[in-house]
Point group: C2
């Protein structure tokens, strides 16, 4: 880890010196989150790219974290050392294994197809926005990678002698198997790799990633390999090749199997460089080829990298920060970078994409995004997109409605047009309502509303809201249902989203109905504990009740990925109601502080991540939020591979940090406000969109800000003193100037 | 077997009554050879067709002969009863399992993908040239099949209710695995199935059969299935679907795996008929589609069947027989039919074909044939083709030279452009020289000669003649080499072919050299046994020597698939020399008769199949040949499923019968003569080709011919008495009229 980091910083400093200060993309350190289960990857990707490349170092017992030894969700772990290829499609910051396939690997000498034998350690790792490089120790091959939106681009510098480029379609992060490969010519390979079964769910929805690979130089020799399964019948005694890898030299025929690959071999008289472009598609090989041609034909590695870097720079520079340390900027822009990876592009350059569930090919003139980890992202990531990248957020909502058109349901945890049904709740409507409230309204809101009502009310065959019958009859799910307390809280939040949207749409009765439904979680409040507690189907509280059970992903009755303490304050639509329920301000603050004091707060999981901001709701207690947010940011988010608290959750953790460092946070649902805490920087400027918003610049500035001066002394909004610790979205997007006077003493 | 045969004969008689007598194709009984390891299949194929369909009944323990329980080479066994589909590419009369894939299966009710569950018994089997039908007992579905050259055509008559058409790409006869399938629309499926590793050889040459299936009615529902291998890693505990078949409903994505398939489902209100056309190609899916369109677009099942029947009829009627029994005609025309299956067409309708070894796609304006089982077919099948179908034989020789161009070597046992290296010897040159001698000379004979010399002389890396060094130095292979005696005999015969071609080409020195080389087998003659006997590398005879060892495919030193008796007379190029070696006429006849008397003669394997004709070489002993050939024909070749002596060996056994029943046989090499024995029929007329030959009719007639009158009393050739028991090829193709006077007493 030290080695890597040291190198990165050294090279980073070098590159920093050669760029102008406006190049915000140079602050991105893609190594952040590549340890401590952050599950990010260090390789290149464009903003919301379909293709990405990462070193793949999770196979082989030499590695500390081996992919098959546990529930392992990442293609790359920074402290691992044994590399077996570079995968061409990858997920960032997720908690389940998938993708991490189509492994390209340069080697030298004789062709060796067993990854445990051809694998190698590596040195000289460099990762930047849109670029990754290392040197393979065993082969002394320099690798470099960049990517356009749908094409991964590799550049290998080989020593003289025999060199090989393997395309391993067997090895991968996904637990799905099966691939096809066909060498089309000495410069071109096409094929597919099966992926899917994300979180070990929906294996019947496993699907192909199609690809076309083009090489800058024709191979002197080529071939494919196949390792068949071991045949166990009577005839095995004649099959001398039973279960053994077979090499098919110069084959141009289609090869299929669970463990297959292809190789291109070269004989070089001197050091030589080869570029490999791999276009991908989830629709067809034809489209993969078209993606490749459209994006990279006749374009050099350097030109592609430059364009990708510029694309990052353009997007990241929508938020300009001043002040703070270099580390602060690295942490900030890397976090912003991580929020711009997922949801990512699913459609091909011609607009084709696989529809969800129908088996048909859909077509979009805009962007069809995928990877909607909504249980995570409804809490802050989509709000951040709405604020800074509303044109993207608009597309994402439109995508959700397209999914509803295709599949009959809004998405829950959508991945490449498969619904993985991961996690609980019915989060899409919360995102849709919030987006609409924020002024992004260029979507069919009536359809959206209809879709939200469907999942809120359809009792039978409702894939989004299991346990709905109990919820509607009793107001809560019972211990007969899974995660009864958590899920009740989630459904409440979703119902509140329906209520606020109903109000906006003038549906007064619906507003009342769903507002009432949204506070039914209160029935689970146990005064004796001042906590939410599971109830049995007869209405009695579940016994025995251990409020600590469920922490650290241990099993607990009533709670999903957390315990009663971690879920105690998750009523983002009813915070004032919750304060009353808890017995008023004093009791609420005492109980909330206890979460942190007793070390029950989990920075790495979503249910409680808004809690640090909730002290703002009690007069005179906002300083606690200011203190906590600074502390948590420093403790959990750092410029190092282990610099994320855990899974980035497709950017949710990173979105938390972006907001936290800017001093605003969307802790609530349906009221369109941001809680104000202490920004890290002297100034933050957000270039506001001019279609959805004012087109002005939102400015947040601080005076006397420092590590010690972490407490807000006074706030001015547009030059007028602000006597509250929140600011509305409307105020912000009209081009607010928010000035914070900082000091080292809490203002109580 | 009885059931089947009875039905066949009943229906056959019915159909016979409705056709005119010239329809020779009505005599074909495709059930002949479908038991007793004949390895033929009963389903439809055109002459030399690429596609064919056969009921597949060798999976499931219900069957007497289960494909995985032994070295099993047939997709269909007549006495088996449990049917699990209809395979679309098949080999006829071979001894190793391959092809027998792309299984189509109609079912009713819910979709069941496990062949052990969806399989069924069947009734009402009918098989004719170009047509097969049965009724599936479990589903009461009537099946009918026909084929054009590259397209298998299925017709299913379903009862009302839910019906399904499965396309099972997992199950198959080949031991190779791996397939791809993609549903393109509710009427079209494309994909591929891996095949190869014939005789458990050359697994690295395994290759795909590509296909496109078109359905006459759009499916109401469709899907694919995949049974993944069982994952055994740590994560198996979360994979509830581990190793289980998964159904992917309405998928149009590419699916790959070892055990996959697709289904189309229909809901019928009444009895309905669906036709399925499956085009195949060994080049590409595109070509499979083009084959389908070119041959069958807008053509009904009945029209395709009619054309295929006519094609058979046209070819079979080149030989017109009169007299004999109905059974004789059935045996004869079925045998001729079996000689017209392999070699079969490899090229697509556009001329594309996969080159051998190169990985490239070749192109032909004629026909590229495949399935050259030359160790078998050099002995009689190609001679029959040269006589009756010289235009085909010409193409076959040209194909061999193309293979030489592509691969650097003539073929040995070529299968779909893979060299399987099955059996021993270097037989291609024998076929080429014989074809040239027979007057079919429109090929590059200089190239052919060069190719023959190459395998005869290249010491290193010679795939055709292992052991060549010993052979050249000592005149024979030694016990250090495999099958030393047999292989020496084979190389001798091949060298003689070079000698006669050298003579024809005016290469006198070569003639001498190779003629000398061709008789080196004599060095293996052990006078004490009057048999050929293996020699050790020091020149001594191998001990102990058991002349009986090696029969019935048991292992023996020195002999391939046979024993010393079975190989004792295999000097087809030096029969007179062998007679001398044996000690003269008397000793030779005694020894030869002993082969038959001691039951050492094996009708089912090639080395000795010419022996019954060898008595013709000794004056006054020809009656023995006449007697034996009649007896063997009657004993081993009958109108019943077990009506072949064993593997048909891609028509070699059948060619034997065709010749035997016509009363001529090419028992020797290089002298262009046929031995005359007793024909079965009153008259045989062969329409001679007018490009290569005279265009006249070759007539063989008999007088007083009967079962008892099996001995030739006198022979007239073109109205002149013939005082010999052979006729030359030249005499025949000039339009000979050969008249035989028969009687019940041997003429000694």
């Amino acid at each position: 880890m030290y080695r890597t980091l040291f190198l990165f910083l050294t090279l980073f400093s070098l590159s920093m010196s050669s760029v102008v200060s406006q190049e915000y993309a140079t602050y991105v350190n893609p190594f952040i989150g590549t340890s401590n289960y952050g599950a990010t990857f260090p390789g290149p990707i464009t903003p919301r790219g379909m293709a990405s490349i990462t070193p793949f170092n999770v196979a082989g017992k030499q590695n500390k974290l081996e992919k098959d030894s546990r529930w392992h969700s990442t293609p790359y772990v920074n402290e691992n050392t044994f590399l077996t290829g570079f995968s061409q499609v990858n997920l960032s910051g997720v908690g389940c294994p998938d993708l991490g396939v189509i492994l390209v690997m340069p080697t030298t000498g004789e062709v060796e197809t067993n990854h445990l034998k051809y694998g190698t350690t590596y040195s000289n790792e460099i990762a930047k926005a849109g670029y990754y490089s290392n040197t393979l120790d065993k082969y002394q091959v320099k690798t470099e990678f960049t990517a356009s939106k749908r094409v991964g681009v590799s550049k290998f510098t080989f020593p003289k002698g025999q060199s090989n480029i393997l395309l391993n379609l067997g090895l991968g992060l996904t637990n799905e198997e099966g691939a096809m490969v066909q060498i089309i010519s000495p410069t071109e390979i096409e094929g597919m790799r099966s992926v899917g079964s994300f979180c070990y769910n929906s294996p019947e929805d496993a699907y192909p990633v199609y690809f076309v690979a083009k090489f800058s130089k024709p191979a002197d020799k080529f071939g494919a390999w196949k390792k068949p399964r071991t045949y166990e019948g009577e005839e095995a005694k004649w099959m001398t090749y039973n279960g053994k890898t077979r090499i098919m030299e110069q084959t141009t025929k289609m090869v299929v199997g669970d463990s297959i690959g292809s190789y291109f071999s070269y004989h070089f008289d001197k050091e030589e460089t080869i570029e490999v472009k791999i276009g991908v598609s989830y629709v067809s090989i034809k489209n993969a080829r078209e993606n490749l041609e459209t994006e990279t034909a006749n374009k050099s590695f350097d030109a592609i990298y430059k364009d990708t870097f510029n694309e990052w720079n353009t997007l990241l520079s929508r938020v300009k920060v001043k002040g703070g340390t270099e580390e602060d900027k690295i942490n900030f822009y890397t976090a912003l970078y991580h929020t711009l990876i997922h949801p990512n592009t699913l459609n091909d350059s011609n607009g084709d994409y696989p529809e969800i569930k129908t088996g048909k090919t859909g077509h979009t003139s805009g962007t069809r995004y995928t990877v909607f980890s909504l249980w995570d992202t409804y809490r802050n990531l989509h709000q951040l997109m709405s604020l800074v990248y509303p044109e993207q957020q608009s597309d994402m909502v439109k995508n959700m409605l397209s999914m509803y058109d295709e599949n009959g349901w809004l998405p829950k945890w959508e991945l490449n047009s498969t619904e993985t049904f991961t996690m609980v709740g019915d989060p899409a409507g919360i995102v849709i309502a919030d987006t609409y409230l924020k002024g992004i309204q260029d979507f069919d809101v009536q359809k959206a509303y209809k879709a939200m009502l469907k999942s809120a009310n359809q009792l039978d065959n409702n894939p989004l809201r299991p346990g709905l019958k109990n919820y509607l009859e009793k107001g809560y799910l019972t211990t007969d249902d899974g995660g009864s307390v958590s899920t009740t809280q989630e459904y409440n939040a979703s119902d509140y989203a329906i209520a606020v949207l109903a109000k906006k749409l003038g549906k007064k009765n619906d507003y009342k109905t769903y507002k009432k439904r949204s506070i039914s979680y209160r029935k689970l409040f146990d005064k004796s504990f001042k906590l939410l507690r599971p109830r049995n189907s007869d209405g009695s509280f579940y016994k025995p009740f251990d409020p600590l059970a469920g922490a650290n992903f241990t099993k607990s009755v009533g709670f999903i990925e957390g315990n009663a303490w971690q879920y105690a304050f998750m009523a983002p639509h009813d915070i004032n109601g919750l304060i009353k329920l808890m017995g008023g301000d004093k009791s609420f603050v005492k109980q909330l502080q206890k979460v942190f004091d007793d070390n029950q707060f989990d920075m790495a999981n979503e249910p409680d991540i808004a809690y640090p901001f909730l002290f703002n709701y009690v007069k005179g207690e906002a300083w606690r939020s200011q203190k906590l947010v600074r502390e948590l940011s420093n403790q959990y988010f750092q410029n190092k591979p282990a610099g994320l608290p855990g899974n980035d959750d497709t950017g949710t953790m990173s979105a938390w940090l972006v907001y936290a460092m800017m001093g605003i946070y969307p802790a609530s649902i349906g009221d369109n406000v941001y809680q104000i805490t202490s920004p890290v920087f002297d100034a933050i400027e957000i270039q506001l969109d001019n279609k959805y918003y004012s087109g002005k610049t939102l400015k947040i500035t601080t005076k006397n800000n420092s590590k010690e001066n972490r407490y807000i002394q006074s706030i001015k909004l547009n030059n007028k003193t602000l006597n509250r610790y929140y600011v509305t979205h409307e105020e912000l997007v009209n081009g607010a100037v928010l000035e914070l006077e900082m000091g080292n003493q809490p203002k109580k």
